[in-house]
């Protein structure tokens, strides 16, 4: 009996903690559906009526409708996903399956770049991209993804490929397959879970990334969701918290959906490689 009580108490404490943790986010969702001025008066979660006025106001509060920024973010995210899938899987195949001169050293360098702060490279990168006239395009944010610079995913895929039985490639080798065919026809189809993890993390990280997008996208026409949302904060006085909340909720929705769909891959991904 005491054991049962202890278990119940434990669950009650955990549920309470989870509720406290998620309360601010839930409250933001609820507040965005209330008349604007109630944000400052109602700390509770009870919703007496469903007001969508904040969403209508927020959607049109900036120079372009919010959908424009959502579309920009979607294009950017899609391009980054394709880049990471192609370039990281190629690099991972080489590190996991090929023997080549200086492999250990290159591998160590690759691992080292996982921990490299972006601030150390941002200034010369900015100079390079501005010389190429790439400022206010998505290129500075997308091209690096096609060059396997997200070493986190290379490592994740290396780990995955190492776990695949080598007999498969060897059999294909005996049948006369080259590395290109082994990679495309044997390894890639088998590493779908690692690719799925890459898709989901790239989606969430790119969607949330602020620093890079703030620096490279200064033309309001090119704004993505985080930059647009930030300009919203600066442009409006505190009276429009309602519409700001509404657009914040809109901007979090894709992340939340990705979380729901891809939880399994996310959890496995950070458990094996320690991402965020």
């Amino acid at each position: 009996m005491t054991d049962l009580l202890r278990k119940a108490a434990k669950h009650a404490a955990l549920i309470l903690l989870a509720l406290i943790m998620l309360y601010p986010v839930l409250w933001m969702v609820v507040s965005s559906l209330r008349p604007g001025n109630e944000i400052f008066r109602r700390p509770g979660l009870v919703l007496d009526s469903l007001q969508t006025q904040n969403y209508a106001d927020g959607w049109t509060a900036l120079a372009a409708p919010f959908g424009h920024y959502l579309a920009n973010s979607a294009i950017l995210v899609l391009a980054c996903i394709i880049g990471n899938l192609v370039s990281c899987s190629m690099a991972a195949y080489a590190f996991a399956r090929l023997e080549f001169t200086g492999k250990k050293l290159w591998f160590a360098i690759m691992l080292g770049t996982i921990m490299l702060p972006i601030h150390v490279i941002i200034v010369p990168q900015y100079i390079l991209f501005s010389q190429l006239d790439w400022i206010n395009t998505f290129l500075p944010l997308v091209v690096p993804k096609f060059l396997a610079t997200d070493a986190f995913f290379v490592f994740l895929m290396v780990q995955f490929i190492r776990g695949l039985p080598r007999e498969l490639d060897e059999a294909a080798r005996i049948d006369g397959c080259g590395h290109a065919r082994i990679f495309v026809q044997i390894i890639l189809p088998l590493m779908l879970p690692a690719l799925a993890t890459t898709v989901i993390f790239t989606f969430i990280w790119t969607w949330n990334d602020f620093f890079g997008q703030l620096i490279y996208l200064t033309d309001p026409e090119m704004y993505t969701v985080p930059v647009a949302l930030r300009s919203f904060v600066d442009a409006t006085v505190s009276t429009s918290w309602g519409s700001m909340f509404a657009m914040s909720v809109v901007s979090l929705l894709p992340v939340f959906l990705a979380f729901l769909v891809g939880q399994r891959y996310l959890i496995r991904g950070i458990a094996t490689t320690g991402g965020k």
Partner: protein, 306 residues
């Protein structure tokens, strides 16, 4: 298991030996994008920023070599010193709190608890949302003068974010709030500890506390170390939250002036690219220094099974 473990293993020289025939040509083809990235996007810019650190450069005129000027300027730059202090407080306070929360929850969730998947998801979700501008907007409201926190506590007048004494605290709370990611790593680590160790210890009459101290702590220590190194590196690079909460200023009274925010102001506010490059290198040295100290200290408390 982790990238860090991999590096440590390589350092200790127990990585796999290489032999057999080399596929240099194929490797060059598969690694071509990565090599290009290394040259143009990572290693190249690191070297370039080192050189730029010894110049005066505003993007319009060509860079002018100015010797150690940027570095001596740092010595007298009181805002920089202030930014360093703010960042250190943030790292030293928020990372241990975050890891303690992560480890504590992981230990509670580990013991065959019903609904584990649900709790894990609920605690992990803030990690995914925490770095977004939307959450920073939310933080600005809830710690504002008429914000949620003051409504709940019944306080009127002063907001937490507009008060220089508490503004940094709200960002620390935000970082601790994202303890879910290290928690998931701890949970995975706990699952690797064979149950028979505990069974054997219990048979020998070891209590739960002894089991925790003699089995869980030593076997989990490499994971604690991994999380510590990672989160310290992460915390040093925090930017978005301070930027949005302070409206880009690092205020009030520079109380949320993170190092990265100051670097941004110098480089992309004033286009003082030479100085910003030197600042970036100092940040790299500081992070590397902290990481090196972590690795050095690891020998005293991290247990390796090999």
């Amino acid at each position: 298991m982790s990238a860090l473990g991999e590096l440590q293993r390589m350092r200790r020289g127990s990585g796999g030996t290489l032999g057999g025939k080399k596929d240099n040509k194929a490797a060059a083809a598969f690694l071509a994008p990565w090599f290009a990235g290394l040259l143009l996007v990572t290693a190249g810019p690191i070297a370039a920023s080192f050189i730029l650190g010894f110049t005066d450069y505003n993007l319009i005129q060509p860079p002018v070599f100015n010797g150690l000027d940027n570095w001596t300027r740092m010595l007298g730059d009181t805002r920089l010193h202030h930014a360093l202090g703010v960042t250190l407080v943030y790292v030293v306070v928020s990372v241990p709190l975050q890891l303690a929360a992560a480890l504590g929850l992981a230990l509670v969730l580990d013991r065959g608890l019903r609904g584990l998947a649900f709790y894990r998801s609920a605690f992990y979700l803030p990690s995914l949302l925490g770095s977004s501008v939307a959450i920073a907007v939310l933080w600005r409201q809830i710690f504002g003068a008429d914000g949620l926190v003051n409504q709940v506590l019944g306080i009127e007048g002063q907001g937490w974010i507009s008060n220089p004494d508490t503004a940094l605290g709200t960002l620390i709370v935000l970082n601790v709030w994202t303890f879910g990611a290290p928690m998931v790593i701890f949970l995975a680590g706990l699952r690797q500890i064979p149950a028979m160790y505990y069974e054997a210890a219990a048979t020998d009459g070891a209590g739960r506390w002894t089991q925790f101290r003699r089995i869980t702590i030593p076997l989990l220590s490499p994971i604690v170390f991994f999380n510590l190194v990672l989160q310290v590196i992460h915390a040093f690079q925090s930017f978005t939250q301070a930027f949005v909460v302070s409206g880009g200023s690092g205020g009030p009274s520079d109380s949320t002036l993170f190092y990265t925010l100051y670097l941004y102001q110098r480089g992309f506010g004033n286009f003082d690219m030479g100085y910003a490059s030197a600042l970036a290198w100092l940040l790299l040295v500081i992070i590397a220094g902290f990481t090196a100290v972590n690795f050095w200290a690891a020998r005293f408390w991290v247990t390796y099974d090999d």
